[in-house]
Symmetry: C2
Subunit: 151 residues, 2 copies
DNA sequence: TATTGTTATACTCTATAACTATA
DNA sequence: TATAGTTATAGAGTATAACAATA
């Protein structure tokens, strides 16, 4: 049984952002399924390819993900053969996460698939509007991750 | 320890939407705290004031909230004296949720507080940009709640 | 037999606490 | 003593299953 969305909620940012966020996660997750990775894992690959090898904890910090949560993310990437955990010679407590060759290929493919999912998410908008909304939202996000920022 | 957000994530919709959604919830929750109600409860008041008394289940459907979850939302409103549960004479299984006088006052005040929180959320944007992004996002949200739509 | 409201339960996601191995 | 990674555990949020009252 479907239902028209209440007018008062269509203007409420927490509601609209929540709805679109959930839908974005669904669409991107579905898009990435062929690669066997999730949204957070694609994000991890993106950061690693952009910025080079780093420790698990640093990666988590870059993604705004707790160090206990990043473990599973990296586990999945390792199981899929997309990254390797190399002991850091300078600090044998830490791993350096290194993207493998197939990891690099997966990152490129995943990036494309995510972009398609995003186009679908904003399918009701023109390409120009898509760019406008993405740009404005990016500007609204704080420059830096809050010091305590979990998730 | 703060950290600049990775460029690859600033353009990723699931990331940007998620970040802003969490922040919107935090700001709106804080803004509504003086009223002793949460974001979902303000949304419930909005719908009830706009559309008049309805059953709990119908209210949940309007909000995209499961009928087992709406119970707590309505409980809170009732405890705060903002709504009353009246048995529906036409169907004694159901309640008609009716907004009280102080509920109507709270709704008006809450609506104002939420708008302030939204302005703060998009503080980096001009008023015009604020309107643009809100309008575009509202258009990107599906017209109707999906038939199965939980949450 | 089906439906409204309710409770108990389970599941997902993520953080806190505690452990190990290094530093 | 402090830190990287890990595991076990707990908490928030929300769904599924089952029940009483009513249709």
């Amino acid at each position: 049984m479907s239902d028209i969305i209440p007018a008062s909620l269509r203007g409420r940012l927490s509601y609209v952002l929540g709805t679109l966020h959930r839908r974005a996660l669904d669409l991107e997750t579905e898009a990435l399924a062929p690669l066997g990775i999730g949204v957070k894992q694609q994000a991890a690959l993106d950061v690693l390819v952009d910025e080079g090898p780093m420790t698990q904890q640093r990666l988590g910090l870059r993604l705004g993900i707790d160090r206990t949560t990043i473990v599973t993310v990296v586990d999945g990437l390792q199981d899929a053969g997309l990254i390797e955990r190399n002991r850091d010679p300078a600090d044998r407590r830490a791993y350096l996460i290194v993207v493998t060759e197939s990891g690099t290929a997966a990152q490129r493919r995943g990036r494309r698939l995510v972009r398609q999912a995003e186009r679908e998410l904003l399918g009701a908008l023109t390409d120009e509007e898509h760019g406008t909304v993405t740009g404005l939202l990016a500007r609204a996000v704080p420059e830096r991750t809050p010091p305590d920022a979990p998730r």
